[in-house]
């Protein structure tokens, strides 16, 4: 598999400094520092329960940090007004681990939902064209009138991504995009993530513990260990170590 290289830009779209988050007495994030540069795919790796999803939920303002600063497109997420937060969220797409499709709506209505509420100037015809274009981009035009319950896991993931992309975000956050999918569908999702990066010029954070996905989509990899990012760099740089917390990760994924 071809490993991706680092991007050359130094423009930061997300800046996280000294981020702490705990739930009750359980400390999840213990001083996280992380930057996302424009145009890159950053893969965040880590064991289950280490706070990877918590991190991206803080980025979109679904959770608030206990301590620390999270700056997205030059705005500090937890201090801006709700109206500004909604405006910021138009620029940040979030693909959920279980797709989170609205199960009482058809696929067309799922995609129309964010569009008609955020771009009121669009005519019915324009909304319909945008929906069809986006479904074509994820290769699922034929599902337009189906209900989410009629789709497979992989199809639901793609529709979830399409619903996010329809608002043309600058940043994409993928939460476990390949979790629970078969290897062939995983490859398709990996290609989709790369295609989105190239076609829509997005900067992305991909949360995963699937190293094949990390290697295929990540320009840069960051490993969350004990609540902090202790290893960051290219895939090779991160895994070229004998660290007992890192090595089993690689060995399991590549069957050594």
């Amino acid at each position: 598999m071809q490993e991706k290289t680092k991007t050359s830009t130094s423009e930061k779209v997300i800046e996280i400094k000294g981020l702490y988050k705990s739930f009750g007495t359980y400390d999840v994030l213990k001083g996280v520092d992380l930057d996302l540069f424009k145009g890159e795919n950053l893969v965040v790796l880590g064991k289950s329960g280490t706070g990877k999803s918590v991190l991206i939920k803080i980025i979109v303002g679904l959770l608030t940090p206990d301590i620390g600063e999270v700056k997205v497109l030059d705005q500090i997420v937890d201090t801006i007004t709700y109206r500004d937060l909604l405006a910021l969220r138009l620029k940040v797409g979030f693909s959920f681990q279980n797709s989170a499709l609205y199960d009482s709506m058809t696929i067309r209505e799922n995609l129309e939902f964010p569009l008609v509420r955020n771009q009121k100037q669009l005519t019915k015809q324009e909304v319909s064209s945008a929906v069809e274009e986006m479904l074509e981009a994820v290769g699922l035009s034929n599902t337009i009138n189906q209900m989410p319950s009629e789709l497979s896991g992989g199809q639901r993931k793609r529709i979830g991504v399409a619903r996010t992309l329809i608002l043309r975000p600058e940043i994409m956050l993928y939460d476990e995009p390949t979790a629970g999918l078969d290897p062939i569908t995983c490859l398709e999702i990996n290609s989709l993530i790369n295609e989105i990066q190239e076609r829509f010029h997005t900067s992305s954070i991909v949360i995963t513990h699937d190293l094949t996905c990390a290697k295929a989509v990540g320009n840069r990899v960051a490993m969350l260990l004990d609540g902090k990012f202790e290893r960051q760099g290219t895939f090779e740089e991160v895994f070229n170590t004998n660290d007992k917390r890192v090595k089993p990760f690689y060995d399991y994924n590549f069957i050594q």
Partner: protein, 259 residues
Amino acid sequence: MATRTERPSRFGRMFLTLYDVFQFIGRFFKEAFLPPYEGKELMKQCYDIGYKSLSLISLTGFITGVVFTKQSRPSLAEFGATSWLPSLVGIALLRTLAPLLTSLIAAGKVGSSIGAELGSMRVTEQIDAMEVSATNPFKFLVSTRVLAATITIPILTFYTAMVGMLGALLNVSLSEGTSAKAFFQSGLESITFLDITASTVKAILFGFTIGMVGCYQGYNSSKGTEGVGKAANSAVVIGMFLIFIEEVVSVQFFGLFRT
């Protein structure tokens, strides 16, 4: 920069919950009456809550009218006052039976359905998905459902009263041979403007309560399938409990205006 917060005590958590409830109600008034409006979703909810409850309400309302008339007859017959049956049934239905019956049925049917629906949407991250797609889920999910319940329960209440009267008419005409015209003349003449006002206010209050409790429990349900069940269950139990409390308070309140 935010500071790290400590977990509050049990007593503190109780006050936080109360604060949360009032904040939720306050947010409803803010979101429901400020644009953008979710008119289409409001109509859909009115249809779901109102129209889809009609068959159940019709059946229970009709049976209540028949049974109440049948049970009241012996007591009135003792005083030779069976001719008062239509007035008695009319007043009882409008003042208490219709609002209470409609609201209790709605608390069971509508409240549980709202609690379960929003609860499962919370658990499957659909509410979070609305949030992150820059859509206000509170406006779309909560405001519309609470408004729809507040609008439709009073309409259903008067419908129940009407169907209950039809049940009573059936019983009275079979037993006493009273004509429909005489029954309604006698039944409606003792109903005052205050009765109608009190009934409307109560039904609005009950509808608001059912919608609000169902939405609060579902919207704030904890993670997991257990949370969904709990949300549906609490929506019914708390909803019914509050309806009875409100009934007692409103009877006392409107009693002040009766001479």
